[in-house]
């Protein structure tokens, strides 16, 4: 007891340099983001004249004009993005949970082999499946449909989500399953009535990450969608940036800012699940 560190007494007053340093680091890190938001609210002529954050006059014209700057308004692109994202989230949540249950609770032949293969796909570079998948979807006539982007999510192809659910389900007490089994519940009942509802935190984490990754996804949307009416938000932004002239930076910033808002909302309201998700499985976001 004599050598206790006296944290609460002596350290807190001395801590302000650390806080100062951390706040400085935060400001430097977030400055580009703040600059983007403030530039989107500045008149066009002002953007590249000052690095300051406060616009001389607040204008929303960049948002209004940016929204319709491409031939098709962004409404269409947001609808497309949301369709793809929502369907993918549903697929990922349902099938990752189902697969997680099979790996965590059921006993069957070759389970360990399948499980190791599943873990290996976590490290698989996407390149090796890229070309054959494209050829396959091309043969199926699925190019320029949303199918190549959503169908795989109904087959638990994201190993990260399966792993997350396996880890979580392993933590649910087995007594609950066994009690239900004594009452005559079969495996499907146990999954539907016990495991699925109890793994809600893991499912929410799955849904959030699946939303964010699909929303940010660029390469597969670039490959499979090239008709204007099918474009998603990232694809539309890309068109915007390559078709842009010097006078529309403000609009570009406005549309880029808007594209981050769904993620920011999850970030604000899903904090707990995001942090727990990465911390418990140890995977990146």
């Amino acid at each position: 007891m004599t050598v206790q560190r006296n944290r609460s007494l002596s350290l807190i007053p001395k801590r302000w340099p650390i806080h100062l340093m951390l706040i400085l680091a935060t400001v430097i890190m977030l400055y580009p983001l703040l600059w983007m938001v403030s530039s989107s609210l500045k008149p066009e002529t002002e953007i590249f004249e000052s690095s300051g954050l406060i616009p001389s006059q607040l204008t929303f014209s960049n948002y209004v004009n940016g929204w319709t700057a491409l031939q098709t308004p962004f409404t269409r692109f947001y609808i497309n993005s949301f369709i793809i994202v929502i369907v993918s989230v549903i697929g990922n949540v349902l099938t990752s949970s189902l697969t997680g249950y099979a790996f965590a609770r059921l006993e069957f032949r070759f389970k360990r082999i399948w499980f190791s293969l599943m873990l290996m796909t976590l490290m698989l570079p996407f390149h090796v499946t890229l070309v054959p998948r494209y050829i396959m979807f091309n043969e199926l006539d699925w190019i320029n449909t949303f199918l190549p982007l959503v169908v795989p999510s109904f087959m638990a192809t994201q190993a990260f989500f399966v792993f997350l659910n396996v880890q979580f389900i392993r933590g649910i007490p087995r007594d609950l399953d066994e009690a239900a089994a004594v009452d005559g519940a079969n495996k499907w009942d146990i999954f539907r009535r016990i495991i699925f509802p109890l793994s809600m935190p893991a499912l929410i984490t799955t849904a959030i990450f699946s939303f964010i990754w699909t929303w940010n996804d660029f390469l597969s949307q670039l490959l499979y969608l090239n008709k204007t009416e099918l474009l998603t938000v990232p694809l539309a932004l890309r068109q915007f940036v390559s078709a842009m002239d010097q006078s529309s930076f403000g609009q570009l910033f406005a549309m880029s800012t808007l594209a981050q808002i769904p993620i920011l909302l999850f970030f604000v309201f899903g904090q707990k699940y995001i942090v727990e998700g990465i911390a418990t499985t140890g995977f990146k976001g």
Partner: protein
């Protein structure tokens, strides 16, 4: 926490092969969606791309068997391939260590019982969520562009900037900065790992009179090497696959002077701009071999520096 990568095997191991047909049937019914997905979207395509890598295929005519021609050409006669390899290696070996050191440094500071930890953690993590998007790549283009944010700030100090994105000497560095900027996700993993270090060790060390530097090198650092290793493996694999920022910054070309021609970008160009599917498949297999090699190398080297304590 140490062995997050290898799954826990906490259920009792059944002796022998005593699975009933019924058990098998139930198990496989639940596994079916994943199993179909694995065969159709992963295993099948891996094998198909191996086959395609030995052919010429343009989507229109039948694949034509050419033996090792694609590999031969890639490894001996394709200067852009060599360039894309070198760009990608440079990117991986600079951005990953930098990112991990920053992540660990900040995690160590935050782990000292700082008030407002959740706020700092959240704000530092934010770039990791946004960073891979097209919108952020667009922002980067403007920040490091000719009259972008960086040059405006430099001008305050009287320094005449240049287009960092437009110069072959600096374009790749801006992408490295973009990756280091996303140090938040390894940082969160480090924080979780640091919390696992038993407080009793520090107390014992205090009694023995160890100062905080000694405590860091003798306790903290050895005990978090497994986390460091884990982050290293994951970040390396993901850095090898970077695509979106390079595409956006260079309009899909790898410009200027191929200085941002990431491997993924070059595969995309060969496969989906020139429709050389066989050639792209050969590149994909080379990437797979490179990643497997580095992962095995990582695991092999880990014996020399990763400390797996037996305290639990």
């Amino acid at each position: 926490m140490q062995s997050t990568l290898t799954a826990r095997t906490d259920q009792p191991v059944k002796s022998g092969r005593k699975f009933t047909l019924r058990q098998d049937l139930t198990g496989y019914i639940f596994l079916l969606p994943w199993l179909i997905g694995f065969v159709v979207f992963t295993l099948g395509p891996i094998l198909a791309s191996l086959y395609l890598s030995f052919t010429n295929y343009d989507l229109m005519t039948m694949p034509e068997w050419v033996g090792i021609f694609n590999y031969n050409r890639l490894l001996t006669r394709d200067a852009r391939f060599a360039q894309s390899m070198s760009v990608t290696f440079t990117f991986v070996v600079t951005s990953v260590p930098l990112q991990l050191i920053v992540a660990l440094g900040i995690a160590l500071v935050l782990n000292r019982g700082i008030r407002g930890l959740p706020w700092y953690r959240a704000l530092f993590y934010l770039p990791s969520l946004l960073g891979g998007s097209v919108a952020i790549a667009i922002l980067w283009r403007q920040v490091f562009g000719n009259d972008g944010l960086l040059n405006q700030i430099l001008l305050i100090f009287g320094i005449e900037g240049q287009s960092w994105i437009g110069s072959p000497d600096t374009a790749l560095s801006t992408l490295i900065v973009l990756r280091v900027w996303q140090f938040g996700s390894p940082m969160v993993i480090f924080l979780a790992g640091l919390k696992q270090v038993p407080q009793s060790l520090y107390e014992a060390a205090n009694i023995d009179g160890a100062n905080s530097v000694q405590q860091f090198f003798k306790i903290t650092l050895p005990l978090i090497t497994p986390i460091f290793f884990f982050n290293l493996v994951l970040q390396m694999i993901s850095a090898f696959q970077a695509f979106t920022p390079a595409y956006i910054i260079s309009d899909g070309t790898g410009a200027p002077a191929d200085s941002t021609l990431f491997y993924s970008l070059y595969i995309y160009i060969q496969g989906f701009r020139y429709f050389r599917m066989g050639y792209a498949a050969a590149m994909a297999w080379i990437m797979l071999i490179v990643i497997v090699f580095f992962t095995i190398l990582n695991f092999g080297l880990s014996r020399f520096w990763v400390f797996y304590g037996d305290e639990d």
